[in-house]
């Protein structure tokens, strides 16, 4: 086992850095908690019958008046904080991961094609990317969300909220993928294996996805991690602004927005526990992203 780890430089580096290991454990724990929320969480926060106003505003268990039934306390409705946070993290991660996947498929596809075909197609894709890069992601996401609100009929708004949010975030993050994929593809285009494939008359799609893509995966993996953190932050920010998910199906950002109402009163846990949770999640993903960058880019080590 140890010999295996030592032989793989990435894994070996991993065991040498306590910060990276802690980050990995935190990220993994939160993800497991989020994925298995329906089985782990004490109650279902979406089920109105599962909580009662009588339990409202109970502090965490270690504080005075804390109850063992609610380890991290309850909000003003009597909802268990642990359950709300686990379900909230679940929504945040679902949106974050799907947005990141959509953005990477779109961005890598366009970037590969731009790098492979070059010429006018490349110019058009990159001009669009440049324009979007001038607009910060949050502005793009807000705009797309606003347009969706204008186009969709009101009765569909609620059902499609998660989808609209995911798409808005994905469309504001694809540029990074496209630029990186394009730059890496340019490098690969001069290599002999690509030229050989072209000479054989293989289909461009096959060359792009079967031959080139596996060779440029490294830098893309780094961007995927960093953009996952960005996507989660974007979702949290939009929900905090009241543009994202509504209060009856809260994500972490929505929970923080609700907690803001208790900033001036003594109920600190309603605000700070979801906030800490969000920061822990984003910081650990960012640390992992930094680590991956070092692994794939030995020059920076």
């Amino acid at each position: 086992m140890w010999a295996f780890i030592k032989r793989h430089e990435g894994l070996w580096l991993f065991t040498r850095s306590p910060a990276v290991m802690i980050a990995a454990i935190v990220a993994l724990a939160i993800m497991i908690g989020a994925v298995f929320a329906p089985w782990i969480a004490p109650v279902n926060p979406y089920d109105l019958a599962s909580f009662s106003l009588m339990d409202g505003l109970l502090p965490p268990v270690w504080e005075e008046f804390g109850s063992e039934r609610f380890l991290l306390g309850t909000d003003d409705q009597g909802r268990d904080m642990i359950s709300s946070i686990l379900y909230g993290a679940r929504l945040s991660l679902i949106i974050g991961v799907s947005a990141m996947i959509i953005a990477s498929v779109l961005g890598v596809g366009l970037g590969l094609a731009a790098g492979y075909f070059g010429g006018r197609f490349d110019a058009i894709v990159m001009r669009i990317a440049d324009i979007q890069l001038a607009l910060p992601a949050i502005l793009t996401a807000l705009l797309i969300d606003g347009i969706a609100r204008g186009i969709l009929p009101p009765e569909m708004q609620q059902d499609l909220r998660v989808a609209v949010l995911t798409l808005a975030i994905a469309l504001s993050l694809w540029v990074n993928f496209a630029r990186t994929a394009r730059a890496s593809t340019f490098v690969q285009m001069n290599k002999e294996y690509v030229q050989a494939a072209v000479m054989q008359g293989q289909h461009p799609l096959r060359i792009m996805f079967v031959h080139i893509l596996p060779n440029i995966l490294g830098p893309l993996l780094v961007i995927m991690t960093v953009d996952l953190a960005s996507a989660i932050l974007l979702e949290a920010t939009l929900s905090f602004l009241g543009i994202g998910l509504p209060a009856d199906s809260p994500s972490l950002g929505t929970l923080i927005r609700i907690g803001m109402q208790f900033l001036l009163s003594g109920e600190w846990w309603i605000l700070w526990i979801p906030t800490l949770f969000l920061i822990a999640l984003v910081v650990s993903i960012n640390v992992l992203g930094d680590f991956l960058r070092d692994v794939f880019n030995p020059r920076l080590r």
């Binding site: 910060p136 502005l139 606003g146 920010t237 602004l241 543009i243 803001m260 900033l263 969000l278």
Partner: protein
């Protein structure tokens, strides 16, 4: 020189046209303006007549030309929600956002540049490590959380500073400024820090990287050998040569400052353009959304134009190249 400026002006004009087109498409294709303006009891014939009167049946290019012409004359249309002229709504909000943005940028420069120089000159110092660690945390914490933390400590726990609104403002010829009252200054501190933190880390990292680069160069070594005093060496010779990329970033950061001011304004209930934009999204107030875009793009283009001109002022080499 003249050619350079003219080229940049034409480019800027194209960017503005593109943004105006985007705003126009928003206005024209997202939702139907007629249903927004009329009630349910308006008959179909009346709706059609209104459509004709407003010129919504005219050719697309003609409509766009008219839209651009109106904008140039300062006619930005009416808000769907408040029925007020959009130009007026935005104009009253501009001072708040610009003052917030300027103070945030100043904070990021006056803290970021010295910190960048220091961390570049003493790369192994304990203070450097601490500063670098803090910037890493600063990048990972979302803007709105930084705002909440500041509000909690300085507003709620210590009670030193106000946590919402602009405080007292003084009207200077239509421009409401909060720079002339103590109250206004107290109110702007927390939002400006919130907005400035992210820009600060960017500025610092950039100055640090550039400074470390420049310190390796031959002319700095030569100046050291000649015995140029350290202060003069660092700030006159070294720092001056890092200024071109730093100014570029300031220009680019301006877009970020404006965008993140949406978040900051929401946290601090700061009555600026960002808050107006958020409301317009929530109520699908397309005219306000469109005009906000055009106004932001205008500031963006303007700042970048100024940045380009500053290059020439700062870097004499660019002037020589231009002559040749």
């Amino acid at each position: 020189m003249v050619y350079f400026i003219a080229k940049r002006l034409v480019q800027s004009l194209f960017v503005m046209l593109a943004v105006a087109f985007l705003a126009f498409s928003l206005f024209r294709f997202v939702g139907d303006p007629i249903t927004q303006m009329t009630g349910v009891e308006t008959s179909v014939e009346d709706q059609e007549r209104l459509r004709d009167e407003l010129g919504l049946n005219d050719p697309f290019a003609y409509q766009f030309a008219r839209f651009t012409g109106d904008m140039l004359q300062g006619d930005f249309g009416f808000s769907y929600r408040t029925r007020q002229p959009v130009a007026e709504m935005i104009a009253t909000r501009i001072p708040a956002t610009l003052e917030l943005g300027v103070v945030a940028l100043l904070i990021s420069l006056f803290v970021g540049i010295p910190a960048g120089v220091y961390t570049a000159l003493r790369p192994r110092g304990a203070a450097t490590q601490a500063i670098l660690m803090m910037t890493l945390v600063g990048v990972s914490i979302p803007t709105f959380v930084i705002g909440i933390i500041l509000i909690f400590f300085f507003g709620v726990q210590l009670g030193w500073l106000p946590t919402f609104g602009r405080g007292g403002t003084v009207n200077l010829g239509g421009w409401d400024t909060s720079f002339l009252t103590v109250d206004g200054w107290r109110a702007i501190i927390l939002p400006a820090i919130t907005l400035g933190v992210y820009q600060l880390t960017l500025t610092m990292r950039l100055v640090r990287a550039e400074m470390m680069d420049v310190m390796q160069s031959d002319y700095i070594r030569f100046a050291t050998a000649r015995g140029v005093p350290m202060g003069r060496l660092y700030f006159k010779h070294a720092l001056a040569n890092t200024m071109v990329p730093v100014i570029t970033i300031i220009g680019l950061q301006f877009g970020g400052v404006i965008a993140f001011s949406i978040v900051t304004e929401s946290v601090f209930q700061w009555p600026g353009m960002g808050l107006l934009f958020l409301e317009s999204i929530r109520f699908v107030d397309i005219p306000v959304m469109g005009v906000y875009l055009v106004v932001i793009a205008f500031f963006f283009v303007l700042v970048n134009l100024i940045v380009d001109l500053l290059y020439v002022a700062i870097d004499p080499r660019l002037r020589i190249r231009d002559v040749s």
